[in-house]
Symmetry: C2
Subunit: 455 residues, 2 copies
């Protein structure tokens, strides 16, 4: 019989709100703290990349019965739309017929999640910063500012869902033998907007994630329900093509006209947004352990922030919660075992998606325009279509499967090694769709061990 507990969740973002719904459904008392005001009462910040919800995210929402409601806020994207300079637009389907990812505005989703958590009975305490956490006592000390009078509250358990620069994790870091790493990309990002047409329709093909790959920099655009697109420019902070170098209206205008001529007209507030919106950094954060005794645990970005190039940040955080919930079913009131198994099961998988996301940064910005890479993808695509049981594409393993990320990474490495051998064939460009190449791949598959086998 499961006992009802008093639980604090620090952070009212997507993962914290979802966790609150799960915990309420299990009959616990839940207080969610956030240092910011209620996001439902304020304008959103203009420093966000649209979310791409995929299978792992949907499964976590379905389990608490809120998937349908969230889907109303999402736009289906079944393909990449690739804009190359001087070439016609072309489309790459993300998966098989019926498979798609879903574009959702972070702000819109967060508001909805908080409302759903409130409906489930969670209490939200906004504008209440957690200044200190007592790990042994599961007590938190909060207040509006450092000098104002503090409130203290003791719980049975505390979850840190307070993001990449987590205060809860910061407290755990002071333990001896706490592994921690933060690594920034030299590439930053800036949000821009393509507004809707006057009739509310989308200016670009609506059911696509649009990409303008340009080597060291890249523009992407994801659709919103209101007909607009949220664009993100990824570019190095310093160097030849960089945020630092684009320091005047004329330079920005010329840069966009030169590199993004097919879309520059669609961003009417380009200069205003470019200089008003912040240039944000991209960080990978890893740490271990994720939990302290049976008292405190980290979920989502506070445990494993990743770069956004696989669209899996939120999906991985939501999957944390589903895994936790399954372990609560197994271990019931034994929170020690819940937390130990949670961190040991999730850690290899979030390390894997961190690595895959970093690699996709390289792939999206440089390789999507490389003929050798396109040929490789064509060969893989042909083989996967003929032998779907033998060759699930890496992207599909990550995006349209609930198998562990670590397995996807290992299997992706195996496929890459096989394709390296195939691409070494001298006249591969001529015989890529031949029986010979197909047989060669089948042979190589037989002499290597699939990742599922050694898991």
């Amino acid at each position: 019989m499961q006992e009802s507990k008093n639980i604090a969740v620090v952070g009212s973002g997507l993962v914290g709100s979802l966790l609150a719904i799960y915990l309420r459904n299990r009959g616990h008392e839940v207080d969610v703290y956030d240092r910011r005001p209620d996001i439902r009462t304020i304008e959103f910040s203009g420093r966000s990349i649209n979310l791409a919800m995929s299978l792992r995210g949907w499964l976590a929402l379905e389990e608490v019965g809120v998937a349908e409601e969230v889907k109303k806020l999402a736009i289906r994207m079944d393909k990449r739309a690739i804009h190359l300079p001087g070439k016609p637009l072309y489309f790459q389907p993300y998966g098989k017929e019926g498979e798609a990812i879903y574009s959702i505005s972070r702000g819109v989703l967060n508001k909805k999640m908080i409302t759903l958590a409130e409906k489930a009975g969670a209490r939200f305490i906004f504008e209440s910063k957690v200044w200190d956490v007592d790990l042994d006592e599961a007590a938190i000390h909060t207040g509006k500012s450092e000098n104002e009078s503090r409130m203290s509250a003791r719980y049975d358990h505390i979850f840190g869902a307070d993001g990449a620069f987590s205060r809860v994790r910061h407290k755990m870091q002071r333990q001896s033998r706490f592994n921690y790493a933060q690594e920034f990309l030299n590439t930053g990002y800036k949000e821009l907007t393509i507004p809707a047409n006057a009739d509310g329709s989308h200016k670009l093909e609506k059911h696509s994630l649009h990409i303008w790959p340009r080597g060291a920099f890249m523009l992407i655009a994801l659709p919103n329900l209101d007909g607009s697109f949220t664009c993100t420019l990824f570019m190095p902070f310093e160097g030849a093509h960089s945020f630092e170098s684009l320091d005047s209206d004329i330079k920005v205008q010329q840069f966009f006209e030169k590199h993004f001529p097919d879309v520059v007209e669609d961003i009417p507030s380009l200069l205003k947004e470019f200089f008003r919106n912040p240039t944000s950094a991209l960080v990978t954060i890893k740490c271990f352990p994720w939990a302290y005794s049976d008292k405190v645990a980290l979920v989502g970005d506070s445990a494993h922030a990743i770069v956004p190039f696989y669209g899996q940040g939120m999906n991985a955080g939501f999957e944390d919660i589903r895994v936790l919930n399954n372990l609560m079913n197994v271990h019931e009131n034994d929170w020690h075992s819940i937390f130990r198994q949670y961190e040991s099961e999730r850690k290899p998988n979030t390390d894997a998606i961190a690595e895959l996301s970093f690699r996709n940064f390289m792939e999206m910005s440089t390789k999507t325009a490389d003929p050798q890479f396109i040929l490789r993808k064509k060969i893989e695509g042909r083989f996967a279509a003929k032998h779907p049981d033998k060759w699930a594409p890496l992207y599909s393993r990550v995006t349209f499967s609930e198998r562990p990320y670590a397995e996807a990474l290992a299997e992706g490495d195996r496929q890459r090694a096989i394709m390296d051998r195939i691409m070494e064939i001298k006249n591969i460009a001529d015989i890529w769709d031949s029986e010979e190449v197909e047989q060669r791949i089948l042979g190589l598959l037989e002499t290597t061990v699939p990742a599922e086998m050694w898991k």
Copy 2:
């Protein structure tokens, strides 16, 4: 013409003291702060591994004319003495005739370095903790405790030589886009002592670094001038053979009698030391950048703490100082260029020695007892002796050379790939010293590119 500057060095350890000597020799005013009392006035802590000074360390000392004086404190070690259970003791020379590393007690050396720095005119301010650093102003705020009145002092430049858990680096960490990683081994260590014989002589062969490799754990012993040996037991914190499991006198005694029967009698205070001395953690720390503007720079462990298994921690820190000094010769008063080139030149090399040190942990504890590994080393040794121009052993590149660590790592990887191929030869154990194997290595060397070429 070089201008004299006012410079603060935070930390009076080995690297801080050496830096103070260098800076004084260049005509700067130098204040060295340390939160601890003067080490010359106190008993040393009992949580140290003896140092192994090798070429890089000696070169840095020679350049300021203190090598001879330090050598008086050191004992030459020209070989490993390997103690395997049930087998006769055997010796592995570290290098060629005349090459050796030198055992020095950390405490003894630190006292000498402070005295040498004082003699050079550096001011030491002990029991003065740096609570805060103003990076833009190069100002430090010090005091005996957090509540007592603080002193502030402004300098032209500040160096953080305050070790793995550096306060100066902590302040630099708050910048955006500061990369940082701390990773602990699951293995810890404990100091033990083999005292001298009654006549002051050493109980074990004096000119050797003694190793008792036992797989997951390992004992080492380094000689001291007074006839004693400083021993270090490396062992996992938790698990079957672990510090956690050895929780009683009888368990410790039985453990040593079983695994180290040839030396247990030589550690008369085993039980007392085992339970009195702390169990210390081993950490690798990486960060970047190492410098802030032309104001503040990190040196030694504060920039790059490594695990001790290559005996290069102090050597790498001393080499930082020699590199800095060379850059001060080149760039004179342009401290901005000094710091930029210092961090970009040193970072790949300290990353390389971090990796090599971690790998040597595996090698020392497990592989030194593995027949395949011993055969591999014999083949390499034979080839290196016949072709010294073609095959400098990795250990020698790290220990007896001043070429960059990154080159040693790359060249070591190339050699390892070649030896992997050689060890695949079916009857290698029978033909290891044949002309055929030698020719095969020569052939493989010709078809791969040495690391020097692409540097």
